[in-house]
Subunit: 337 residues, 4 copies
Amino acid sequence: MLVVMNPHATQAEIDGVVEKIRSIGLTPHAIPGAQRVAIGITGNKAGLEPELFTTLPGVSDAIRVSQPFKLVSREVKEEDTVIDVGGVPIGGSALAVMAGPCSVESREQILEAAHAVRRAGARFLRGGAYKPRTSPYEFQGLAEEGLRLLALAREETGLKVVTEVMDVETLPMVADYADVLQIGARNMQNYSLLKHLGTIRKPILLKRGPSATIKEWLMAAEYILSRGNYAVALCERGIRTFETMTRNTLDLNAVPVLKALTHLPVVVDPSHGIGLRAHVPAMARAAIAAGADGIIVEVHPRPERALSDGQQSLTPAQFEELMRQVRVIAEAIGRGV
Amino acid sequence: MLVVMNPHATQAEIDGVVEKIRSIGLTPHAIPGAQRVAIGITGNKAGLEPELFTTLPGVSDAIRVSQPFKLVSREVKEEDTVIDVGGVPIGGSALAVMAGPCSVESREQILEAAHAVRRAGARFLRGGAYKPRTSPYEFQGLAEEGLRLLALAREETGLKVVTEVMDVETLPMVADYADVLQIGARNMQNYSLLKHLGTIRKPILLKRGPSATIKEWLMAAEYILSRGNYAVALCERGIRTFETMTRNTLDLNAVPVLKALTHLPVVVDPSHGIGLRAHVPAMARAAIAAGADGIIVEVHPRPERALSDGQQSLTPAQFEELMRQVRVIAEAIGRGV
Amino acid sequence: MLVVMNPHATQAEIDGVVEKIRSIGLTPHAIPGAQRVAIGITGNKAGLEPELFTTLPGVSDAIRVSQPFKLVSREVKEEDTVIDVGGVPIGGSALAVMAGPCSVESREQILEAAHAVRRAGARFLRGGAYKPRTSPYEFQGLAEEGLRLLALAREETGLKVVTEVMDVETLPMVADYADVLQIGARNMQNYSLLKHLGTIRKPILLKRGPSATIKEWLMAAEYILSRGNYAVALCERGIRTFETMTRNTLDLNAVPVLKALTHLPVVVDPSHGIGLRAHVPAMARAAIAAGADGIIVEVHPRPERALSDGQQSLTPAQFEELMRQVRVIAEAIGRGV
Amino acid sequence: MLVVMNPHATQAEIDGVVEKIRSIGLTPHAIPGAQRVAIGITGNKAGLEPELFTTLPGVSDAIRVSQPFKLVSREVKEEDTVIDVGGVPIGGSALAVMAGPCSVESREQILEAAHAVRRAGARFLRGGAYKPRTSPYEFQGLAEEGLRLLALAREETGLKVVTEVMDVETLPMVADYADVLQIGARNMQNYSLLKHLGTIRKPILLKRGPSATIKEWLMAAEYILSRGNYAVALCERGIRTFETMTRNTLDLNAVPVLKALTHLPVVVDPSHGIGLRAHVPAMARAAIAAGADGIIVEVHPRPERALSDGQQSLTPAQFEELMRQVRVIAEAIGRGV
């Protein structure tokens, strides 16, 4: 159930609705909008009668929400969420471009990458300090040393830092260094982690699980929003199908579907999605043409020496060319970069 | 094995290579190019020695072809194939736009659709006279009457006709009426039909099977080329995955992968691909941004009354708006419509 | 709609119902059962009123059929269909065991295989004379010569012959030689072929398409039954998933699901399903334990020299051992071989 | 690399090899076997020369291990691992039968379930106290209260308790109560959790992720073994495919494939796998016929009132009948229950 307030409802009227919801044992979620406040209600198993609320002062409407996801839904909040990352937006008319190496490997590597992607026009630096790897014998990341190097790169370039957090244990530390916390595909349904993410005040980039339906993905985001953190962006990064010529199958169908269902920003990762350097630019262009709010791209100063994902990383020169193409498509559909 | 002739090789030199290939029990396939002729060799199980051919007059090179597909491969023919459909190209710099109803239903319906899509800028009219339907109790198409109506629409509008052929029995009749023969997804590995398609002289639009790998799809095209018909365009129309919010998962990853592997044109069907009217334009834009050579879109004068696929058909007005968007993207990447 | 007659309804009463159905423009399908006759009605888009029929003499009940498949449904025919192949049953309490090489390759090969599988207890000989192959350059089968060799093997051993028909053109000839016509996975939705199969009087073994849902598969069978041929067995042979360690993913879940939904017999092909010789016996045992009515297994006198599918073919000795295991499981669940 | 010691190698000889491995910067893993000790080596990126070790005293052989998984591999340990759960084995000739409700809901419910499954012959009681749920608004389990009730049920029945642990935070507490720790499908690649599991001394039941390849699953187990916990059983519980008639596609192909690749026990969960109560017994029979070492089955005193997964839970009477069938199949293949 969603209670929509009048545009000029007073704070007292809003508080009255909130109190009413609590009085019947349910949880209110006030969602401020540009025009008016809406109040989502969770915890209700059985159907509620709209009349419980429409008769209260200041209430414009009470709407039954049909999907299992609520707070992430456009039914609950019509206008697009724009996440403010220290002055740089994710969502809204400008595209968010995030770029950098798969893993932070050394001071030189991350600084060189950061300067290169900034020069080309990115506003966010990506780079993993904690790496989920299929094999326990593979490079697992530089841990806190990697986070320190990311912070240094931020200082030098002004880029915002996007980096993965893998568990609750390291969450406080990673949140200390990062501007945006990335949740990897394999952790999309790590509900213990999601619940913790709901209680902090950092933007989240929630990657889609390799076999997660769009609905399950939205429900994972709902876990975070339902605990109070509304700054969540969704990141399509390829699903698992029978096709073996590409690393994953980047599912661009998810972009327009999500933009219709949810107010959250949608970012696309063409690097993991197709997994082949030569084809990353084509998929980045397609993502933007499909309506994505941003892209996240792997760029490495020397991909052939990368400790992970070298085969899908662009060189700085290739990234510069990609940015040129991205700008052309973005302008064609009326967006800037 | 592929024998590449010198740019100025004489016909006699070409004939000499062809004869040599036949003399060792193999089949030559001369592939004329803008610059020079190449001669593909099929039938060789064991490896051939390049020296067998490089020593012949007029021969520039003899290359081992590593993929199981040969004649469709860019290794065999470097430049893009442009199919000439009575003066209208599929492939090359201009986008091929095909549009029309799923099924031909009546004289009024197909004429209205044809005029509408032509006005909006399409050069090809699509429409099914023979319909493969999951249920034997559903509308199976108007058969020859449908073909006659398509021919009438062509006469009135000048549009080229793209229509599906389902079997060898009706192939001669359908080929009589159609400008381009569409092979449906469920017939992609109907090898008996593919072999027959190799012997006729009509362009083929070969749809990808819902669970066909890119390699299997190229091998299906290879069946047609290996019998002598080189006018084949590939049509991505969505693959089957676990996701149920969309009808299929339109696999745009296939576009850049195919453009690198094969010289054949690549067309995308966003209507079947995503299966939801509201999201067809986003996927059409994305297809073109990814590098597709054309799109095929379902348009129906009154989608709500369509006998098949109404939920994914655009109205004429929606198609006009889609064409506007398509032109913008096409121009942004240096292509016309 | 399904009209169920009284156990002792007279032929005149049955004819009365049939006539009534025709009089309202629909198609009756009389389905004889052990106890009583039922009459399926197809062609009705809109709902029919049961009262139209329950008021006729001899009618016991008129039931709305909820699934899109009708004639294949257990709602329409409760007891198991047992197909009589010249005295040897498919369906019923005894397991149908079909075995032999992937392709007929030579007189010696097929006779040796036939004698071996018969000795081990199989009642059906499988072997392909027409082979659907992914590549046009691979062995395509011996064609009519292969059929003649199968007939010879039948003469020598008394085994019933199961062989694939790929198209309408060769259907009369293949039907002349075969006892059971196999429809390959890639032809499961070749509706033109299915319609022809509905008009002949030969048992059909309908393989599941690699990405066909159970519902689509039943609808494909419905095509055949709706044209009059009720002797259809379904053959699970593995679906396409993301797993690459096995050739396909043999979907044994389909066995109990089908046994509940349809009266048609269900056969399992563990050879194509898992595609690894060493694991064929485990999957054959599992298929029978899950309730399959039969198995079809690839056996080759010398798998290492097979022209197709050698890696999944058993040797005669391995097949003998498999039959021993199969008998044990079959007996454990109260079935014979 | 795997160093295989002589059957009668002394401890000093074993220590010598261990020391040698450490001296070149790699990690030794001594794996005791019934006949002899083998020592796995991890950390080696580049190939090692076998001669480094075959020349040491007591060494029988040094084998290059070709798969990315090492300690879980049969190449490293030939004989089956049998996990001893306080006197009750998982693995070996007797089948391990685990049964109980999806969630612990109340004292009465869990005690009633425990007594029922014990009477029917199960040796393990399953039941979730922490439940990973797709929606944040669904029942999340009784937490520690649920664990206490499981312990009570153990006291009353002697059954061993199998229950899920969802995160590192609750791991010490869950490990205190449980006999076997279950890792849910969605946590299969929660590497932070896996690493912690490697450091404790409790048997682990590692469920397969819904889109995990067999190789990724073995690598997840490798994470646990590589940290020192060798008591890991693998649990197949269905993979995600395009089929929607069943909840998941229980992949029994994984059973023989795993039994060939790894020495770890393989358990099958037919309840989640097919997700339909009526078909759980068929899949349980098939699992055992395929060679599984155990099954885990959902049983609820009153499935229609279950707070989770009621549609796939058996009643106690149905479970009793299932046990009868399981015993028959188990005996047929020479195993007890």
